[in-house]
Amino acid sequence: MGFRDYYRQFDDIDEAKLNLERRERRRREKAAALERAPDIDLAGTEWPDLPHSEIVNAAIARARGRVNGYPDRHASAVRRLLAERHGVEPDRVVLGNGAADLLHAAALALLSAGDELVMQWPSYPLYPLLAAHAGATPVAVESGSVAAAVNDRTAAVVICNPNDPTGSYIGSEELATLLSSLPDHLHVLLDEALVHFQDAEDVDACLRLVDRFPRLLVVRTFSKIYGLSGLRAGYAIGSDARVLAAAAPVLGVNALTQAAVEYALRNGDAEVERRRQAVARERKVLTDHLRELGVDVTDSQANFLWIRVRGMSGDRLANGLRQQGVIVAPGGPLGEDHHIRAAVRGEAASNRLLRAVENVL
């Protein structure tokens, strides 16, 4: 080491150079952190974030009250809010322990042994079970109109709208035409668990058909866009008092759930709208990017996409994505082997999914 070099090693460190070194180190750390990123789960359809703390507080406040007594089994406050919201009488609204329970109870009331329950397919895997529990036969319609599958043994039709897992949406006019074409004795269970995610028309467009079609029962949930899956809350609106009474839980919904739902209905509209817009925006971006990659994606109106890669089974695609740290629902258990269902989340999740799909292709 020369004379000057010896002293230069004691020189000041240039701040700009130091910052560059820091930024480079941070970039390396971030890259390493991304490589260590935990698996991202896009298999579920429930809302991924925790509910607003005030909703939880409402439930906790009720828990600190008189929980030794039974709750209001008619859930009067919640039903009144729902009735006002949808422009129906409160006695046409039933609050239940989740949409699935309401559908299950309604199916048990409507179906008997030997009856048939018609449904589009692929659709929500619970529907065939509903028929089986009632001793009826599920009739899955994979292509063509549901109305064509109706015969004199058909007791009810169940429609998921937007459909899980395809995300397809039947508009209110098309639905009205379908309902008009069905025999008068037939009941229709309209599962609108995902309806808040559609941006094709007004959120209540199909629900308003309960006035024109007395045998229509519309079921909704607080598990999806409201993000309250753990509280198990849903509601049904219809015109048939017998079906409504059958669908209602015998001793009502627990007091904590009623308190949380009531708070969410009173204060949650802005957040619901924000979530709806965020999903619609991200759904479009993700759909476009996936199609640019040559992937088949159905036009979804739900908070997930129904994806297919030609020449690849859904299981293989799901496994390939799993190896990239992205968990999706393979289509087999949902009714179609060649697809996968991937939830629409934020931009970061979309980027992870896109990168994983690119790597698998």
Partner: protein, 135 residues
Amino acid sequence: MRYRTVEPTSERRRRADALFAHGLLAVELLLCLSLFGPQPLAWFWIGSQVDYQTGYVTAGIGTIMIGCLASLMLTMALAKRVDHAWKLVRRAAGHRQERGALERIFATSVGVALVLFTIWFFVIQGPGPTLAPGT
């Protein structure tokens, strides 16, 4: 200010660096002091020569002003380099030397120059004619 922490060298080298640092500090002090005596005097002499050679007083005064200013800047640039070297040598000698000493040395040299000037003005040269009209 940040600088690298270098593994300590031998004690002998450190002592030599400490001595070297003192030398550099002395150079800095001399450079600063030169601003208040030798350099102006030198430029006064040069200015008088210019005046004598050209016959223009203005040329002499201009030379003095420009020369003083130029040598001030050159001296400060040189002093700054010496100060930086002093800082590095101090660090090499094992001191946690974050800043240079030029500001303090400059201030000290101004103080010294002021004291010397005062002594020269009032004691050596003596009071002016209004105070002592007889001298």
